[in-house]
Subunit: 179 residues, 3 copies
């Protein structure tokens, strides 16, 4: 497996965002956030922060934007399905500078070998400046599996994206101006 070099430099800094109304209200313990953190540490990443936010588009977008200011890799878990409150892909697109559709296609194609329900994940991925954002599903099992599918390409992605400049503050401001 491709491993991030655990040198403490920016490219190994990661942040995990759990998107869940019930976790944010403290009604359910957060299962997928810690599971993703463990998997990232095993792959050589420092997990320099974790955030739990409710399924609110603006709060998810701001959490991603803030996390990209300090981490090279930002993983969200939850909010990618068809449920009425699922808004993680929309919130992610609100702040992405460029979308990387192949990462989501790869996760869905590999997940379909596990379950046909994988076709219903609306997860996306892309860059905010030189930081890579990847949406994972909210179930512990699916989050772990999907992360494993993309881990091998993340070091190369972060290498190539180095030097990009983020624009997400302006993007959030523009969105807020919309009626």
């Amino acid at each position: 497996m491709a491993r991030a070099e655990p040198t403490g430099n920016r490219k190994t800094r990661s942040h995990v965002i759990t998107v869940s109304d019930r976790c944010a209200r403290g009604e359910t313990p957060d299962g997928s956030g810690p599971a993703v953190e463990t998997a990232l540490r095993r792959a050589g990443y420092d997990v320099t922060g974790r955030t739990v936010v409710p399924d609110e588009r603006d709060q998810v977008a701001e959490a991603i934007c803030r996390a990209c200011g300090e981490a090279a890799l930002v993983i969200t878990t939850g909010g990618t399905g068809l449920a009425p409150r699922d808004v993680t892909p929309e919130a992610t697109r609100d702040v992405l500078d460029v979308e990387v559709p192949g990462l989501a296609e790869l996760m869905r194609a590999e997940s379909l070998k596990v379950t046909p329900h994988a076709a219903l994940s609306r997860a996306t991925a892309g860059l905010v400046g030189s930081s890579l954002v990847v949406n994972l599903p909210g179930s512990v099992k699916a989050a772990r599996e999907n992360l494993a599918f993309v881990l091998p390409v993340l070091p190369h992605a972060l290498d190539v994206a180095a030097g990009r400049v983020a624009d997400c503050g302006r993007k959030i401001a523009m969105r807020e101006k919309r009626p």
Copy 2:
């Protein structure tokens, strides 16, 4: 195969829209609409309506919007290719509240095992409120095949999406205001 429960409740109500200039003008009998209807009934859905519309973006969008008012599952057939008049994906996006790219990716990936021309389908899928809209190609054979690829996940999709609120009247109004 996952079967919709034939209980007559909203989640088993489906509507089939044939998008075809020639069928709308009565020059060709509609082959794919009845074929899709038969396949849906076999899978446990009530087909509570069928519509035939020409390849006109506004008429397709309005037909989808209206069908989503009465049915949980709305299947279109035709207008997904590269021909000059093909506009079904654009019309569908005009009214979708959220796109579900994995369903179209699944249909293309499976169809590619049958024919390389599957790469040319621009079909999309997504939600209008709690109703799921799926574009199928216009040929009887391809429509049947593609429907079969997604049928197994539709009951779960409709379960999860229950409770979503549609916004398509406003979307059509906004589009009409554009220059």
Copy 3:
């Protein structure tokens, strides 16, 4: 393999655009442009022009638009990854009348069998009028491979798209008006 008929008619006219700052400045010889040209000629296409442009969104968009005025098939190579200057997919979308996502999905799915890094290609494809535009990666090997994946469906795509009318001059003008 499906072959374009070498009859000299519009459907066999192709144009290759190399997108590369270093090639445009003459710092590196253009490897992928000539490789794509050779592959197209072998498949029965006339290569009626080649262009080299830097990774500047407006210059790439204008080169595509101009090439679509004279060729039925326009292939770009380069600028599809995550590097700071990569803008080819954005420039392509600036001028596309309709996107054909299945061609890019097919290239990524097949390329993933060769390398997991294929997930990082942001290449797209679509129509400008009746001309088909396809983005390829910038490495000679990946450009050759990806072209080979889509060559079999191009003749049918060009047949079906015949008669479409292009809108890219207006699209570029609209983009220039944006703040």
